[in-house]
């Protein structure tokens, strides 16, 4: 979870306790909530992007290099399984996480 080393004193807080760093929630690695991870079978994947659009985390992206298959950022993936369930070619399987 959040890794704050030292808590700020009340005098150091911004007025109205405004948060001045946009998108600072990125430091919450929500990936450790996951109990199963999505695995893409690249032979069946048609790169349609349904998983990219339906991911509630927004953690599935197309790979930058060609041919550009989607993959999940496992630092944030909570393992809900929506991508595997919605995939039109059923190319995503969920694999149990092992300790």
């Amino acid at each position: 979870m959040a890794t704050q080393s030292a808590k700020p004193k009340w005098t150091e807080l911004a007025v109205g306790t405004a948060i001045t760093v946009p998108g600072s929630a990125r430091q919450n690695r929500t990936g450790d909530w996951r109990s199963s991870r999505p695995i893409w079978n690249h032979e069946e994947c048609i790169r349609c992007g349904v998983c990219v659009i339906f991911c509630p985390e927004g953690c599935i992206h197309f790979d930058q290099d060609q041919p550009g298959y989607p993959s999940a950022d496992l630092e944030y993936c909570k393992g809900c399984g929506i991508c595997a369930h919605e995939c039109p070619t059923a190319c995503i399987t969920t694999q149990e996480e092992e300790e």
Binding site: I19, N28, T30, G49, P56, I82, H85, C87
Partner: protein
């Protein structure tokens, strides 16, 4: 995979303004709706958010998942604050204190913050005609505080304050039709949308941002935790809600109603209620009764289609 309507996900804007690392539950469709809507609206957006799930999961101090100006306000006044932001921006632009440009002002709240607590602020903002978008994320109960019933909870749903048992069948009143209440203000754009139909949602958000004057969007957001639903079914259930008539998708543009996703023959309601734990106690007779009512409501929409009212 039926009723598939996503064809060009690659064409969806990639400008993500609601970053990963928020604390939403697994499979939350509400947070998906928020992400998709703000991908469409882009960076020139200011958001006033009422108390609710989207507030607590996105901005637990000292972090925020937002990378656009966002303010948390009390439960009842998201619409009032959004209209104030809009009026403030207008006067600042008029006085030349900031460059003139189009800024989308968004008021967002859950169904409790819209249908129960915030309805007078919403009605006031719609009546005054501010150029803003009000978005209600409807997950059909107060999910943030632990699944209490709201006036938007559908008939028969079991929640912690309308529990199903020997005497009670769960929620005993019908879902309040806030969309039609908003439409009764004669505002230029009112629509219902669902993240299960992302391109329909995108089109509606674009229209809402484009119109001059208030726009109201009612977004269906499945809540796997509160509905006792398998997280992976969160998108499918949204599609089933449309196909069974539990949440029809339509838009009212300048008083003209158009059904966006037409379902010539509604699916049996069993398909929608069966995966959800909140409807598990319902017997066939009650489901048939609800089905009849939903069918009548859908027919009413079909009769109104194309008419100006």
């Amino acid at each position: 995979m039926e009723g598939m309507n996503v064809f060009a996900a690659r064409l969806f804007p990639k400008d993500n303004r609601f970053v990963s690392g928020h604390r939403a539950c697994q499979g939350c469709a509400e947070v998906l709706a928020v992400r998709l809507i703000h991908q469409i609206l882009g960076r020139n957006t200011m958001v006033a958010s009422a108390t609710g799930c989207m507030e607590i999961i996105s901005s637990s101090y000292p972090d925020t998942a937002w990378s656009i100006p966002w303010i948390h306000v009390a439960f009842e006044n998201a619409a009032a604050v959004a209209s104030g932001i809009e009026a403030g921006l207008q006067i600042l632009m008029k006085k030349g204190r900031m460059p003139k440009r189009k800024i989308n002002v968004v008021g967002m709240a859950g169904d409790g913050g819209t249908a129960d607590i915030g309805i007078q602020a919403l009605s006031g903002a719609l009546e005054r005609g501010h150029d803003m978008i009000y978005i209600c994320y409807d997950n059909e109960a107060y999910m943030n505080t632990g699944v209490q019933r709201s006036s938007s909870t559908p008939y028969g749903a079991s929640t912690t304050t309308s529990p199903a048992g020997k005497i009670s069948i769960g929620q005993q009143t019908w879902k309040k039709n806030v969309t039609m209440i908003a439409a009764a203000h004669n505002i230029p754009y009112v629509a219902t949308a669902s993240p299960s139909y992302p391109f329909d949602l995108a089109e509606k958000v674009r229209k809402a941002a484009k119109v001059k004057g208030p726009a109201y969007l009612h977004v269906y957001s499945a809540c796997p935790t509160g509905w006792r639903l398998d997280p992976k079914l969160a998108i499918t259930i949204g599609r089933l809600a449309v196909q069974t008539g539990a949440f029809p998708l339509y838009e009212i543009e300048n008083g003209k109603l158009k059904i966006s996703v037409k379902t010539p023959k509604l699916r049996p309601l069993q398909d929608y209620t069966k995966p959800q734990g909140r409807f598990r106690h319902l017997d066939d007779a009650t489901i048939a009764e609800i089905e009849k009512r939903l069918f009548e409501e859908y027919q009413k929409l079909e009769r109104r289609e194309g008419l100006i009212f």
